[in-house]
């Protein structure tokens, strides 16, 4: 839950209006109005449809004895185009509870996994091998003491190290995607070595296919 509560928070946050950020208030009002109108008409349209003909019922989910999973997340929205981007559906919330942490840390400018990181990844691999329905997104991050483009490359190297480790442990490579946020989404703010060391990380996010 923790991992996924954090990820979508970034998206929700982006939608939040921060005072003073959207300059012309009238424009903001117009946008709100427009989106209200759109959503209202969408609601009305869907209401109409549902009274006319009900869609077929989805198959009942198989009970797995797990706790109820949080609702499906809203798709991310691409700026401008209005097209939904990657849809991350149905987060698997017991991953972190089961394995302790979703993150491993790295040394400066390094993508090598140390013993501590490997121990964490061993636990994660076990879980991933049990839960073959889970898709895996590995995110690479860096501290802010590398230039921007280099940070994306370094983040990719880190995510790839984790991916290679999982594959070595028998996880199907086709279940795994890799991305890099570089220095752009630090776990903690600050420029001292302590905060930097917490930002040199890889994170494993699991979700249902």
């Amino acid at each position: 839950m923790v991992a996924f509560a954090r990820r979508p928070a970034g998206i929700g946050k982006a939608m939040t209006i921060i005072p003073g950020q959207l300059r012309p208030a009238s424009k903001r009002a117009r946008v709100l109005c427009a989106s209200l109108i759109v959503s209202t008409s969408l609601l009305m349209a869907s209401c109409q449809r549902s009274t006319q003909r009900l869609p077929p019922m989805p198959p009942m989910p198989q009970s797995t004895g797990r706790a109820a999973e949080p609702p499906v997340l809203q798709p991310y929205v691409v700026d401008g185009s209005g097209q939904p981007a990657t849809i991350v559906s149905e987060p698997l919330d017991n991953f972190i509870q089961a394995v302790g942490t979703d993150q491993v840390l790295f040394d400066s400018d390094s993508h090598d996994l140390d013993q501590k990181a490997k121990k964490i990844l061993d636990k994660q691999s076990e879980w991933l091998l049990r839960r073959i329905d889970a898709k895996i997104m590995i995110e690479g991050y860096t501290d802010n003491f590398v230039t921007r483009n280099y940070s994306y490359a370094l983040g990719e190297r880190r995510a790839n190290s984790i991916r290679n480790y999982f594959v070595q442990m028998g996880v199907d490579v086709n279940r795994i995607s890799v991305t890099s946020y570089g220095r752009d989404r630090p776990a903690v703010d600050g420029n001292n070595e302590e905060s930097r060391s917490l930002n040199r990380r890889g994170r494993v996010v699991v979700f249902k296919k």
């Binding site: 590398v146 921007r148 483009n149 994306y152 989404r185």
Partner: protein, 445 residues
């Protein structure tokens, strides 16, 4: 709206080439800075729909432009009479101006053309000889008075320095607000002096590394849409956004070629990042580097024949140059420090770079063979330099201590005039636009 903008230029008088006695020695920089008086522009008649202080506001913009270079030092206005009759804008009383010890004088006279349009008469004089150096009328919409003032400053600059100024250019960057993973980074643009700030994205996607296309009408940038880094083209006039890609791997670091036909980018896959060129019309993609490790931060030389990039193939991040087809890759920086985020001066002679040594990141320049390194900034965290179109100034990102949001600063090439841009929030990844140009013909670019 910006594209609709153009200024009609009319020759009033032009006293031929720059005055022999009054000329900046660009090799001496500060030592030869010209003391210049920029009194308030005088109105020939009241101008409807503008600030009553328009004359002083115009003079402030011009003086501020000139003072941002090492070549000019505006004279303190306390040293001369504020109120000036209109006749003095055309034929100044040089005895008075000599008493200010100034060397050059810029006068402005403003007049209404019609309800929306006004005229700025921009005149430059040599105070010692008491002769006009150059003069030109600039006509434009009243709400574009800042741009017209910048163009007048460019005119003065070019008359005395002998090369085009950059005062009518813009700066594109990614805003930075919020903290940690909740960070919001929006695409934003402003005049080179921070005025006229506007947001170009809503902040839904986290924006990074924006860059202008050669004409300045299109930008390319990275944005995180969901979990994926994507590369977008944005038409600044229509705000139409197109995605380039998707690519097989993590793609980032887009930069236009000087002809605008292709884009350099980096793609990371299986722990190995290489540099690619994508043709925008055909979407054909060509791999330019093949070294194990990280090759990234690629940008073209102004003539499009070379590519500057950074690589850790030697063990640490260093700068390299290769031919545009990827051949003859050679390392140009050596030593203990890491080098990255480099770019080629529009003049072609120098490279600006970020040097990270121990715990300090700073901006420097060097010749394109890697020799003649000269550090420009001496703060703790300066990075991401981008060149002004004149090649005479650099904009960069500066981070203070603690958790403060990064700021954007400009510095002249001599390293003497450093200015913080007035941003509404934090800023990073600056890019400097081409000059917008004052002539109607250049609006076609």
């Amino acid at each position: 709206m910006r594209l609709l903008f153009f200024i009609i230029m009319l020759h009033l008088t032009c006293a031929g080439p720059a005055h022999a006695g009054l000329r900046v020695d660009i090799n001496k920089g500060v030592e030869s800075a010209i003391l210049i008086a920029v009194p308030f522009a005088v109105a020939r008649a009241p101008i409807s729909g503008t600030s009553p202080a328009l004359g002083s506001e115009i003079a402030d913009v011009i003086a501020n432009d000139l003072a941002s270079t090492a070549f000019f030092k505006p004279i303190d206005r306390d040293r001369y009479a504020m109120a000036m009759p209109v006749a003095d804008a055309e034929t100044p009383r040089f005895a008075h101006w000599r008493s200010t010890r100034g060397q050059a004088l810029v006068t402005g006279a403003i007049a209404e053309v019609d309800a929306d349009v006004f005229r700025l008469e921009c005149r430059l004089f040599d105070i010692f000889s008491g002769e006009p150096v150059a003069a030109r009328n600039f006509v434009g919409r009243k709400d574009q008075w800042r741009q017209i003032s910048h163009v007048c400053a460019n005119f003065v600059y070019e008359a005395l320095v002998g090369e085009p100024g950059h005062f009518d250019s813009r700066i594109l960057y990614a805003t930075e607000s919020g903290s940690g993973e909740q960070r919001i980074r929006r695409l934003a643009e402003m005049d080179y002096d921070g005025a006229g700030h506007s947001y170009l994205s809503k902040g839904v996607n986290m924006v990074a590394t924006p860059a202008y296309a050669p004409g300045g009408g299109t930008v390319v940038h990275l944005a995180f849409a969901g979990s994926a880094a994507k590369i977008y083209l944005v038409n600044l006039a229509t705000r139409a956004t197109t995605e380039i890609g998707p690519f097989d791997g993590v793609a980032f670091g887009p930069r236009f070629s000087p002809d605008g036909a292709s884009i350099l980018l980096s793609i990371g896959k299986n722990g190995n990042t290489d540099i690619y060129r994508i043709d925008l019309a055909s979407r054909n993609i060509v791999k330019l580097t093949d070294a194990p490790g990280t090759d990234t931060g690629a940008s073209y030389s102004p003539d499009g024949r070379k590519i500057l990039f950074e690589s850790n193939r030697s063990g640490s991040q260093q700068l390299y140059i290769m031919n545009a087809d990827g051949s003859e890759q050679s390392r140009i920086t050596f030593g203990k420090a890491r080098y990255g985020a480099a770019s080629w001066s529009p003049r072609g002679d120098l490279l600006a770079f970020t040097r990270i040594a121990a715990d300090v990141a700073s901006i420097g320049v060097m010749r394109s063979d890697g020799q003649g390194e000269r550090m420009l900034t001496r703060s703790m965290r300066d990075e991401s330099p981008a060149w002004a179109p004149s090649g005479r100034a650099i904009v960069f990102m500066r981070t203070g201590s603690g958790s403060r949001a990064p700021e954007l600063w400009t510095i002249d090439l001599a390293g003497t005039v450093e200015r913080r841009l007035p941003l509404p929030e934090g800023g990073s990844d600056p890019a400097w636009s081409p000059s917008r140009g004052a002539l109607p013909v250049s609006a076609k670019r």
